[in-house]
Amino acid sequence: MKLLENMGDAIKQGRVPARIFNDSEVWELEKTKLFGKVWSFLGHESEIPQPGDYVTRYIADNSIILARDEHGEIKANLNMCRHRGNQICKAEMGNSSHFRCSYHGWVYKNSGELVGVPYLKEGYDGLLDRSKWGLVSVRVDSYEGLIFGTLDPKAPTLEEYLGGFQFYLDIYLKPGPNGVEVYGPPDRWAAETDWKICAENFSGDGYHTPVAHQFGFQLGYFPSSGSTHSLGWAVHIPDKGHAIGLGHTPGLPPFMGYPDALVEHMKNTLSQGQQDIFAKTRTAVGTVFPNLSFLIQPFSPIPGEPGVRFCTMRLWHPTGAGQMEMYSWCLVPRDADPEYKERAYQAYTLAFGQAGTFEQDDFENWTNLTRQAGSSLARDLEFPYQMGMDLTPITDWPGPGIAVDRYVTENNFRNQWATWLNYVGAEG
């Protein structure tokens, strides 16, 4: 594809083609070359705690059943009967030991084995080998409760794929000895928005906050001001695409917003290097390449009143060129008391659920941006991605990856789109 031929050089010079944010050819390539190869997020272990629990999720346009089988093992299978391809599970979540197709009645265990075929004797003369027609299984692996699946049998391990980004994920996943759980099922909504602009924003777009969320400064929500807002760090894992922005406000209490008991716990669950960075972090906004993002933020629903630290996890699920569906969860520390969890969840809904005051403005901008990027003149335009090009990486940074001493910068994005190009532009 011609668009991609010059993109590698353009990124090195700090430019990215506008067209990638809304293009049907790009989407066709993404479906197989990107989502066919990467580790995609499927669900959190706390969504399927008991044997038989399942949720249905997607990898690109493939519907996947993520289930805990009767032995407690986590299994992912394509949600498609092998006989004629009917969708076998029509619910988003539930508990079932078996799935029965409503067309001809083939029955599968929740682990994917075909166990029941009507008229096996009378119709198939007993000759159909059930062991060959189980559900199409999807390889799964997990990190700290996050379950990922890949459609590529030759993909590297999840550990290798994450490539050190686990160090930063722990800010979201290890607030206390027993990690996090989802507060409840995710908000889901559809938007005429390209998933990539969302993934980019959550890789550390500290730049948009003072303008896109200016109301928050007006209402007194932010402990940072316009003058200190650029302070913090941007970190990415080279060639892996994962990235995080860590906003820092001088003078804030360490781990601001968490209950004291949890802060004490974190001395045991986090390494010294992690504690050194995370204690100073006000906002952590990060993306596991390609489309799973997190945000943690101290927040007082009523500005000036005592607050909490809420954490949202979101999946930018692409459904077409410039089209997506959103999954948005709230993660809460398992070890927090129920009252704190509820307060953290209320803060999440007010700020970043579908009706969240901050969420609303992001999708307004992203939807309009997507529409413009699909216009005919925009097809040949590029956007500047040169912010922070001359920054020197921090030499004594205690974590993996490349870190720069600035929150408002585009270093992470250049790595993100270079990684994207490595997949989408790959031969074959």
């Binding site: 979540m93 889901r188 559809a190 938007a191 969840y345 007010l350 609303q360 307004e364």
Partner: protein, 168 residues
């Protein structure tokens, strides 16, 4: 026991006035229709099998507001930086099937209704339609009423709107 026709008419008028306040973007007037202890909830819906225990999450909510946080939402809309509503959406709240029952406490009523919200944004001909089931607890207040609890459940489990920058 049937409720007096005059009360039914007064409640219908109260609900229609609420729709008008929202659609005319008189958000302060709308806020004043809530009791100080008022709650505003929209649960997350999940597509489940027929015999599932619930399909409206007992925990997850799209809106989970007190009057204080509703006031924050209104204050946000009053700034010049609520981009999701700049330029403003045109909304139209259509109410039907209003059913009134007396509440547990004297002077309170449980009002069930259907609400269909049309939302138009910008110069795009495409529009959002949000259909919701409402269950409101209202309390008599002088000559009128106040919302004690707005509970509204959207019919879609994947909501077909880029954001909910309007009220249900």
């Amino acid at each position: 026991m049937s409720t007096a026709v005059s009360v039914e008419l007064a409640v219908q008028r109260f609900l229609a006035q609420e729709c008008l306040a929202l659609d005319e973007r008189r958000f302060r007037d709308w806020l004043n229709m809530f009791a100080e202890d008022g709650r505003y909830e929209v649960p997350v819906r999940v597509t489940r099998e027929k015999d599932a225990e619930w399909d409206l999450s007992p925990k997850s909510k799209i809106f989970d507001d007190t009057k204080k946080t509703l006031e924050i939402r209104v204050r946000r809309l009053e700034t010049d930086f609520a981009w999701a509503e700049q330029p403003p959406s045109r909304t139209r709240h259509h109410l039907s099937n209003i059913l009134l029952d007396e509440g547990d406490e004297a002077g309170t009523y449980l009002v069930r209704s259907n609400c269909l919200i049309y939302r138009s944004r910008g110069d795009q001909p495409a529009y959002d339609l949000v259909s919701a089931q409402r269950r409101d607890l209202i309390r008599e207040n002088g000559d009128g009423f106040l919302f004690v609890h707005r509970w509204a459940a959207i019919d879609q489990s994947t909501v077909g709107s880029r954001n909910l920058s309007f009220f249900i």
